[in-house]
Amino acid sequence: MCEEIKDLTPQNPAVVFSIKIGKVSCFTSFDPVPEKTFIYHNWFHRDDPSTKKRLTLQPPRWATYSTIQLRETDKGPWRVEISDQKGNLLRILRFSITD
């Protein structure tokens, strides 16, 4: 999880983000990628689904990210569940939005 992506590089990776930054990104990198496929970034605020992003992966390796804009009501613990196109859970990234 990072504050922003610049030149395909995550900036200021962290586990707590201030609401003042205005956005937060989930950067994922896959190596190798055998064939073109999709992954999903499922964003949850506490246990409530917030958004689900479908991202394409291209061989031989690929990095991709999803970003959400932050509002005042978004404070609290978050998690992003990264799953493949079959729904298999690959990783869970946890972070918090605070003051």
């Binding site: 200021n12 990776p13 962290a14 586990v15 707590v16 201030s18 506490r46 246990d47 404070k75 609290g76 613990p77 998690r79 869970i92 946890r94 918090s96 605070t98 003051d99």
Partner: protein, 474 residues
């Protein structure tokens, strides 16, 4: 009658039991001063109730005070009398028996006295008048009007007594006259064993309808003269029978016993009326309403199930009853119980009926709000859940919380299947960022939401958070 519809079988037992207790108190204490004082207290109490009814505040207050003080005094002052009544009797006599007062009757006294005189060869002449007046027939005599007793009769005929030669006249239960001279019989065919006393007895029996008892000084034999005839007395039973026939008493059961039975019956009836009156004044008089909030108890729950939600935790009961009973209600006397024996997993709807509510005697349910309760049950399971820190506040400027590690990072939770099925992360209590200056470690409690969740034994309720704080790159 409408009010009879409200009387339960328990109320009837209540009245009868207390009536019997009051009746037994009367039977045990009726001849004592305690009973008189108790009667006084009862009147004071009735007076106090009347004063309350008419709103005489000071009078009712004074009466209440006096009643309480007198009740205390009675125990102290009459403790010996109470003790003697209770100690003299066994449990059966206290609960059931009727003390018989052994008051000898006139006939018994005469029979006993004559027996004693006969045994000691003391001559005696006893006149028992019937309907006819003896005034014109007998002579002399000293009025006595003394209550009859064995000792009195024996002393009158004692040889040194100046009046021992005369006759005594017994009227009802009193010796009316002593030293009376009876007219002598002029019969010539009297047996030689009969003396002057016998002749006098026969003489009176010839002229009146009186019965005369003679005790021979020489032989000690007893005879009775009546209707010009002399009859030898050979046994006490025969003597008693002759006296009873003369006095017009045909049954063994004497007047005294009949009076006693009558008194007891009246006392029993008064006891029932008195207690019934008190019972009605307590339980039915001045109907009062009260509203109480009573927590609902759930019984017979399958141990595998767990109550995860209820529409209410307590119900409001609108209750009615007499003011005295309503005032004395203790919340723990009232219970609202729902039987979960037939409940299933998920939502269950129960109606609160009269059977679900336990009330003290004399209190009636008028309304229950709400009358329906929803209870959600769930099956208890265990689930291992990942942990996440719930950060709040603001990091000092120029710092980034770059990474953390939680130890342990998972915890085993016990709770309802339906609840745990929707929970994929368990959070810590809120951890403040404001004081984090650099890398470090903190301990945090777990926030169990909803509260029905429990941490399984073996899992920790605190976690250790190792955090890394770095300066924000420029």
């Amino acid at each position: 009658m409408p009010f009879l519809e409200f009387i339960r079988w328990q109320d009837v037992i209540d009245i009868l039991l207390n009536s019997y207790i009051l009746f037994r108190l009367y039977v045990l204490f009726r001849e004592t001063y305690v009973f008189r004082v108790l009667t006084g207290i009862a009147f004071l109490w009735i007076f106090q109730r009347i004063a309350v009814f008419f709103g005489l505040i000071l009078t009712s207050w004074v009466m209440q005070g006096i009643t309480a003080v007198v009740a205390l005094i009675i125990i102290i002052v009459f403790r010996n009398e109470i003790r003697s009544v209770l100690q003299a009797k066994n449990l059966r006599a206290i609960l059931w028996g009727f003390p018989q007062k052994s008051v000898p009757t006139t006939i018994q006294v005469i029979v006993e006295s004559v027996k004693a005189l006969s045994k000691r060869h003391i001559g005696a002449l006893i006149v028992l008048p019937a309907k006819e007046n003896l005034e014109d027939v007998v002579q002399g005599g000293i009025p006595l009007r003394g209550l009859i007793s064995k000792e009195m009769i024996n002393s009158i005929f004692w040889g040194d007594n100046p009046v021992h030669d005369g006759a005594i006249i017994i009227e009802e239960d009193r010796i009316a006259k002593v030293g009376v001279i009876l007219p002598l019989s002029y019969k010539n065919d009297l047996p030689s064993r009969y003396g002057t006393r016998h002749r006098a007895a026969l003489g009176l029996s010839e002229t009146t309808d009186a019965l005369v008892v003679v005790v021979s000084e020489e032989t000690g034999k007893v005879v009775v003269a009546k209707d010009s005839k002399i009859k030898d007395i050979t046994s006490n039973a025969m003597f008693t029978k002759i006296l009873q026939e003369h006095m017009g008493i045909h049954e063994e059961e004497n007047v005294y016993q009949q009076k006693e039975k009558f008194k007891m019956s009246i006392a029993a009836i008064i006891s029932i009326f008195f207690i019934t009156g008190i019972w009605f004044s307590f339980s039915k008089g001045l109907d009062t309403l009260i509203t109480l909030e009573i927590p609902v108890e759930y019984t017979n729950r399958n141990p595998v199930f767990e109550i995860v939600d209820t529409s209410v935790n307590a119900v409001r009961l609108h209750l009615g009853g007499s003011g005295a009973l309503i005032k004395s209600i203790q919340p723990e006397q009232i219970q609202v119980k729902l039987d979960l024996g037939n409940a299933v997993i998920g939502q269950n709807i129960f109606s609160i009926t009269q059977d679900s509510i336990t009330l003290p005697p004399g209190i009636f349910l008028r309304k229950v709000i709400p009358s329906v309760i929803e209870v959600t049950l769930d099956e208890t399971i265990k689930k291992e859940i990942p942990l996440q820190v719930d950060w709040v506040g603001e990091l000092p400027e120029g710092l980034i919380l770059s990474e953390i590690e939680i130890d342990p990072n998972r915890v085993e939770i016990i709770g309802g299947k339906r609840i745990l099925g929707n929970i994929s992360t368990l959070y810590t209590e809120k951890v403040h960022l404001d004081n984090l200056k650099g890398t470090g470690t903190i301990l945090a409690n777990l926030a169990l939401t909803p509260a029905a969740l429990k941490i399984a034994s073996g899992s920790k309720d605190k976690v250790r958070i190792v955090y890394v704080v770095k300066p924000r790159p420029r």
